[in-house]
Subunit: 490 residues, 2 copies
Amino acid sequence: MSQKYTTRQEDYSKWYNELVYRADLAEHSDVRGCMVIKPYGFAIWEKMKEILDAKFKETGHSNAYFPLFIPKSYLSKEASHVDGFAKECAVVTHYRLKNDENGGGIIVDPTAKLEEELIVRPTSETIIWNSYKNWIQSYRDLPILINQWANVVRWEMRTRLFLRTTEFLWQEGHTAHATKQEAIEEAELMLKVYAEFAEKYMSMPVIQGRKSESERFAGADDTLCIEAMMQDGKALQAGTSHFLGQNFAKAFEVKFADKEGKLEHVWATSWGVSTRLMGALIMTHSDDEGLVLPPALAPIQVVGVPIFKTEDDLSRIAEKMMELGKKLKSLGISFKFDDDDQKRPGWKFAEYEAKGVPIRLAMGPRDLENGQVELARRDLKTKETVNWENIDQYIVQLLGDIQENLYQRALNHRKENTFKVDSYEEFKSKIDAGGFFLAHWDGTSETEEKIKEETQATIRCIPFDQEAEKGVCMYSGKPSKGRVIFAKAY
Amino acid sequence: MSQKYTTRQEDYSKWYNELVYRADLAEHSDVRGCMVIKPYGFAIWEKMKEILDAKFKETGHSNAYFPLFIPKSYLSKEASHVDGFAKECAVVTHYRLKNDENGGGIIVDPTAKLEEELIVRPTSETIIWNSYKNWIQSYRDLPILINQWANVVRWEMRTRLFLRTTEFLWQEGHTAHATKQEAIEEAELMLKVYAEFAEKYMSMPVIQGRKSESERFAGADDTLCIEAMMQDGKALQAGTSHFLGQNFAKAFEVKFADKEGKLEHVWATSWGVSTRLMGALIMTHSDDEGLVLPPALAPIQVVGVPIFKTEDDLSRIAEKMMELGKKLKSLGISFKFDDDDQKRPGWKFAEYEAKGVPIRLAMGPRDLENGQVELARRDLKTKETVNWENIDQYIVQLLGDIQENLYQRALNHRKENTFKVDSYEEFKSKIDAGGFFLAHWDGTSETEEKIKEETQATIRCIPFDQEAEKGVCMYSGKPSKGRVIFAKAY
């Protein structure tokens, strides 16, 4: 690993891109804006999926699958939705290719033009509510609590691996309820599920709050979100949960008969997280040596590297390591013993460091004799010599410590980079260095827009958890009901 | 459930379509040829996925994800592949919609035309081998053993739920190897994985064999398959595993340096199963009362229905049932207690019968007093009164029996409907009634094509497991090396 990598200090954005390649997580494909998620990156995403999926099921949701294609006219049915999503999208216009009679190779068959164009789903509210229309007649059919794991396409002009790609993977929950209150509670519940996932499994502290009107999902009455701070002080929206009111029910004429037989429009929510979480995970914890993973999401939690000269040394070390591997497996811990004799230990150390494996064990013949092993922690980059006896129990405890340490480190970073500001001059002088700025805002979209134009900062959320405090808007001087979080964002 | 359903005898095809709706597995969407997989159907598919995914990982494969879109020119790179796949497919030609200035609503923006059209993947060999080109330099980079769970689109003119839909879900394995032998072994191994899955989990006996040249996958040197017999005697191809030779490596110029430093083209396989397996599962076991599920794939394995008049009865029955539910859960058995007081027991019986729940328990106050319960087996439609004591152990054993019974029943059905024929006249007189026909064939595509034209039957496979037996082709009278299986197929 003699290659010189960019550090975070030198160029955060370049560091990120290099890291995604270096840890073998993903790469750009030849298809504009689309990425290839490589096996190591996909293994992390699979862990995320598995944990989230279990949480969705625990909270009463079932998975289903709806079509990839949405008829163009569906997008137009919900007025604000079409503005948000009908712009940059992949449009299927034909359904056949043919051999060009003039020798031009394979061409689109002009006779195979679709009567109505199909849009590759940018999100599925419209196609799903078009189905719900047939599923819902009475209050007995409610609630419907469905989630879908799917790929979606939004034609992005500027893409970045995981953070913003034309095609990405996500889950989208779509629920239907008999009452407004129940739908609001559902949207709140799912935000809590996301927040708990982010904090407990990703070791990523998040701020829960509500979006301002202009940052709302197109078609929502209220958008709740979790916002995380990356190491460069920028914000990343990690998940959103929308209370959709009766907007989609009205657009698709979905009514139910209540207990008294009266027809009412159905209430809705939708909520989603995507492969963007991979970007958030990387930018929350990683360092100049590569990826740093919280143990709960690490495909390999412990790696064993033998230091050996002779075949005999290797086989004695391997025996010990395989024993440990079995014990760890029974404890639910993933272990890899890397006995590749084509690669030197130093190369392996750098490799597993780059890949963010939380604990590395290195064992040579002398360690074997002394009944010990060298243990390196990825998060702190510390090494210690530990006794082989009961090392499995030590590892269990250490993985928990690492998980917690990463969370605390990220939380401290956020605390150190969260500022109360009361003057717009102060705000402007500090915003470029990054961080969350708690500032008073007059509640208008006009002010929000002007601040965005002048500083590129946006209101990330109106946090749930804040002291009630009256004040005046830092921009307009008009009255404010409380502080909101301004930040530059991914 | 007063609705009258079509029986298999009356109209097998209609019975199938009705059953998919009746068991709430899937439905047609408004998007031509695309289906909605409903929660109950998706839960079965999820079980299939989970089991297969574990088997792929056990055999050394990792999951990854490649783009949904394939540049049009990629499809043309492998000559026979383009003939097979570039015909009926969804073509993305534009990337933006806009408001029509003349008031025509949302229209495709003519200025947003792609330079090169993108095809929604019908299968991913081309986009994947275009990536592998950059991943493979040396024999040390091999083998690559990757699987992808994805949606694919093939523009089908005549669609049927699960069996043939424009969009479907599947997994596609794509492996790269240093030697021909290793690639052949991989293709064989994965066929075995599919066959074991079909027989052990789906209780569906399959015949393993090889496709004739004309039935091969477009771009393969050899296509191995598993073929199952449906209840109407028609064949269903349940999975395929392809030895691709060096075809895609040559098309995408993928070479590796062997141990001596010599450059060689890489050897490849691909293999897949899809949501078509849902159709196979339904048509193998189900009856006129609805779905019949092998316990290994049943989302609900045991359902408990209370028979009660008073709240007090219900609560005493519920207590017993919940106790049993806990015990079953600890044994890995899924249990649902249906205490819905809006629906009568008779309605519930019909409902769970339609949904194929393997075991139904019904308990009334008298059963409670006598320490017993009525147990109904879905596969045999038998009822018995069993002691409540140790019922959990009885259920464990019974689920195993049902799994085995379904397999044996399907196997007997296949045996009874498999015929050796030596004369084409006999073949023609019998083929319409369904069944597998073991017949001699001269090995030519011409004969195969003529038989298909005249009878609609195709060669399903050249089975691996057969006695070496020389003979003459039933059609041409020319020499044959052995019998192949002819059948009409889904």
